[in-house]
Amino acid sequence: MDYILHVLILALIYSIFAVSLNLELGYAGLYNFGHVAFFGIGAYISALLSRAGMPVEGAMLCAMAGAGIAGGLLAVPALRVTEDYFGIATLVFAEMFRLVCLNERWLTKGPMGLPGIPRPAWIARGVDGLPVYLILTALAAAGVFLFVRRLTGSPFGRALRVIREDEHIAQAFGKNVLLLKIKTIVTGSALAGLAGTLWAHYISYISPADFTLTETILVVLCVVLGGRGTHWGPVLGAFAVIFFGEAVRFLPIPHELHRYVAPLQGMVYGGILVLIVLKMPSGMIAEHRRNGA
């Protein structure tokens, strides 16, 4: 039973992470492959602040703000280049983030990571705190989902779609494309920071090894598999990816073959990503069948 709560919490955290990426990737056409860096920044900020005695709720808010600001710092320079270079610039940003975490031992304890990240005071530690944490995560996920749905269903979302389809038209009709993109990335990064804090305080131990290309692949997979530019797509994708990831644990695999599981899973994730792009680019829920604002 506790295991199911664990998987649900993970899936909800990942759906926040995927919905926030979808705001950038699905609606504005911004292929931000560095999204995991903001997930990490959120996790580290709230971990450091809460370990230093700050109440967890405050730490979480600071984490979101910090991640948002970091998003702005990346967006302003990175938006000067075209799509595919933007994708590579953000990917490099994520790797730089991980490298800084590895080497600034005075702050992040480097590869040993940060143990003992406290949970909010009103949530019990350990296993019996799970149901309450699940509620907290569910509320957060619902809040983020509604916030993003309101955002993308509004003229703001429509303007993003104009930018995604044809930037020249957006510019020619008075839309400040750069400002809209920066707002989108700042918002998306802040929400990724939220996912990061929820994850940090749930797992209670983080290290740079948790924010690698693997996480980037996973969240891109959630969005692309689920359906870019749709409301429910990323959530569906997140649940599918997490359940597949966790379900593998139940397969009756003899011990000596155990080491083959993780690489096989990685091959499957990579393979699905390639197949989706090749055969089903619009993902499970196709955007335009649901027609516009």
Binding site: R150, Q171, A172, F173, T187, G292
Partner: protein, 254 residues
Amino acid sequence: MLRVRNVTKSFGALMAVHDVSFELGDIGITGMVGPNGSGKSTLFHILTGFYRLDRGEIFFNRHAIANRPPHQISRLGVIRSFQQTRPLPFMSVRDNLIAVAPRQCGESIWPLFFSPTRVRRQERALREKADGVLDLLKLAPLADELAGRLSYGQQKLMELGRILMADPRLILLDEPTAGINPTMIRQLVAVLCRLCEEGIQIFLIEHNMPLVAQLCQHVFVMDSGELIFSGTSGNARRDPRVVEAYLGRESHAA
């Protein structure tokens, strides 16, 4: 009122636009013509902020708009069209019009959550405005159709509808009649004339000289980056430099 002074632009060694100066007084429809490679498209992109100019100044009603980003120029009422139609294929025709309307408070995050009524009110107003424009262009029955499924000519009309949604004071059209059939051209011309009567200035780039003669009171002719003629289209046809620009120079016999 558009004033262009000594605009010059070169791409590496190629002098695309060389020291061009002209003014669009309060003439209704003005045309700019010239053979391919004469620099008229480059000038058009400079006027609308998509290209940066090397030297010169441009004024639109007292505002200096040289090298300003396209969205700032557009907000002054200088609205342009593109040579190829660029519909937003996955949106309905009406949404294509509403999406491009300027100054939408719903496009910034704060009002969305803190003054939603103002956003809803503006949405309704834009919807009515769009339907009005669609009636003017006789596209009303297609309002809910996906823009991607329209014919090429209908997309050109929709593009004009989008321009009207942006409350234009000066419309810059890039080869509006390229690739559409004569009946659709007549419909387009009728709409342009009506806009003129409402005081909207139109500046039209076209190489379809007969159409320019019929539509424009005043014509500029460009050839290899330079402005070689300014006057009525009737005189343009008889001006030796214009004839040579178009038909070229006969050389010594083979």
